[in-house]
């Protein structure tokens, strides 16, 4: 029964490990939750779930597995006299029996025993008919043993709650596949920060000094190092207008989050797709444009490039010269995008539109191909993926000294939940 629960949790996307599962069993045996179904729920949650983002998934699986058990449980309380149950709880299984069954390695076995006991009880008590009937046939009879079952008699009052906690699904918002707020975004983008020692050597290197002093037979030998500074440079391209209007808020949040995270950040706007020019000020978008050629010349290839756009348009706007909806472009958008990806090896496209719908839009597919599949949704997971792509070190030969330096010690993007 609980083994099934364990596997259902894993299937449901809660990353539970065997160690944690064993801890839960240990806690049950230690009698931490010989309380109600609700206590069991709390105990299971505190031992198995280690991130509030997974609370919702846990709730769903729990509801699915234990719903029947809960109903059964209520029936029991309704139909069986209290003293009877209390006595049963005390008598059902002795400590040695529990240990013996544990040793045999099977909760299933344990359930068998319990079921037998209940069968015996039936012979002697008329009142028990309905309960045992249910228990015998239901797959959830298992729950009869685990501690909530034993507590049945005493716990009656605790269980009156109309809505079960796990059915309320209060933790829906923490699931990380949903979109995110500025703060979360900042946290995600922070992973992109890279520190390098730059500038004058003006900080005392304590470890180095001690080391050097020791080598110097105890005579002080001061060592200095340069300060660590954030060394990530970013070019941000934001799509404005048209189909992006729905996503403008998300974009702005991304923008405001990005601003505080990097030392060098340049941002530009474009409409629908990248052509020969972009602009920095939406009010003067036709007056003060920046040619993309100039960008390619100005910013070194060590810049990381982030495009934000839904890439939803007519495919011709990407593939054909003159495809732009606003002006006559001599060269197709795909050509300009090609130049971009060639100049900046670390480039990603963030797409605020729902990732499920990407496949159905031709222009999104084309754009994905153009950026070598480096298109990510604007969710924490998506951002993690994008940051991972942006952090990839450049190939040899391109490595310039001005941006050498170590990354923040090894934080890899978290593995996917399964």
């Amino acid at each position: 029964m609980l083994v099934k629960f364990f596997f259902e949790l894993r299937k449901g996307g809660v990353p539970v490990t065997i160690t944690e599962f064993l801890t839960l069993l240990a806690a049950l045996r230690a009698g931490v939750a010989w309380a109600s179904a609700q206590d069991f729920y709390y105990l299971a949650r505190t031992t198995l779930v280690k991130d509030e983002r997974h609370y919702d998934r846990f709730d769903r699986v729990f509801a699915e597995i234990f719903n029947g058990a809960q109903k059964l449980f209520e029936e029991i309380v309704a139909n069986v006299p209290d003293e009877w149950l209390r006595a049963l709880a005390a008598r059902t299984l002795t400590e040695e029996e529990k240990q013996k069954v544990e040793a045999l390695g099977g909760w299933e076995k344990l359930l068998e025993t319990l079921r037998q006991r209940l069968e015996e009880q039936k012979e002697r008590h008329q009142g028990g008919n309905k309960w045992i009937g249910t228990q015998g046939t239901s797959a959830f009879g298992a729950n009869g043993y685990n501690p909530e079952g034993i507590r049945i008699g005493q716990a009656g009052s605790r269980n009156r709650r109309a809505v079960k906690v796990w059915d309320r699904r209060e933790y829906r918002n923490f699931d990380d596949t949903v979109e995110l707020g500025t703060r979360n975004m900042k946290l995600a983008l922070r992973k992109l920060r890279k520190f390098a020692r730059e500038g004058a050597q003006d900080q005392l290197d304590l470890d180095g000094t001690i080391n050097a002093t020791a080598r110097n037979a105890g005579l002080l030998d001061l060592k200095l190092v340069a300060e660590r500074r954030n060394a990530v440079k970013v070019l941000l391209f934001l799509d404005v207008g048209g189909s992006m209007d729905d996503h403008i808020r998300v974009c702005e949040e991304l923008f405001s989050a990005a601003r505080t995270e990097f030392k060098h950040l340049e941002y530009f706007y474009f409409h629908n797709f990248l052509y020969e020019s972009v602009w920095k000020d939406n009010r003067r978008r036709f007056a003060a444009v920046t040619p993309v050629m100039q960008i390619l010349r100005t910013y070194g290839h060590d810049y990381r490039v982030i495009f934000v756009g839904d890439a939803t348009m007519s495919p011709y706007e990407i593939t054909q010269p003159g495809g732009s909806v606003e002006h006559w472009n001599k060269e197709a958008g795909s050509v300009w995008m090609g130049r971009m990806t060639a100049a900046y090896p670390r480039l990603v496209w963030l797409n605020p539109a729902d990732a499920d719908r990407w496949e159905y839009t031709a222009s999104v597919r084309i754009t994905r191909e153009l950026v070598d599949e480096r298109m990510y949704p604007v969710t924490i997971q998506g951002l993690d993926g994008a940051i991972g792509a942006l952090r990839r070190p450049l190939g040899r030969g391109r490595t310039g000294s001005q941006w050498g330096g170590e990354l923040i010690p090894g934080h890899e993007p978290s593995p996917s939940p399964r």
């Binding site: 490990t17 806690a27 931490v32 939750a33 609700q38 709390y42 280690k50 946290l187 010690p409 934080h411």
Partner: protein, 282 residues
Amino acid sequence: MTERFAGTDRYIATDDLMMAVNAAVTLGRPLLIKGEPGTGKTQLAQEIARSLGKPMFEWHVKSTSKAQQGLYEYDAVSRLRDSQLGDARVHDIANYILKGSLWEAFDSEVQPVLLIDEIDKADIEFPNDLLRELDRMEFYVYETRRLVKARNRPIIVITSNNEKELPDAFLRRCFFHYIRFPDEATMARIVEVHYPGLKKELLAEALGSFFQVRETPGLKKKPSTSELLDWIKLLVAEDIDPAVLRSQDPKKTLPILHGALLKNEQDVHLFEQLVFLNRRVR
């Protein structure tokens, strides 16, 4: 199980929180607590220590903290100075080993409570460096070649503000609890604990306005429990009449003494705009 934590006269614990604490205490595992700022994460450890009558050790983690500092530090600089001055102490390295909070907790005669506060502030490797220490409750002092073992497995409470994700290996060893923002009933009990005998009407009105403020979309920093408590303190100190609170439609005016609730100018500004809009509509 001998003792159970069930909240205290100063701290209201929900059922699920009690369960998490008791499970962690029974099995001797660290308990990781997350939650919005101001929901009493740090206070929890103090209250556990108080209610179970145990000594308390605190380790406040900063961005520069190293895991090693919680165990012990080797004060090499003092030793260097002493050696230059010809101090006799220099010959025994143990003189320069400074105990950290974890060591102190391990040394305690009775089972202590150890709070590791804001573990997410430290470097990303910090939790990984504590795996063995938290699991086996022992560590090795290389300088003196001595194994330090916990006399009594301490009750460890770790708090995190979610600024960094914690490594899986670390999480696996902990029990986890997320302190949800309290609902109105729980909040009323919390306020009652802090300000016993508060006028019923004032409490009801204050809570009403408070939750309305919290639910305003787009707030940068939502007010939390501690802010509510401050606010109520102010209301009591200023002797505000509940009728004044009631007469104020929070949609039309800023809540009275809003400085205690709204902590940055953007939020105040947002509120003013909403108020302005609502006035024009009516």
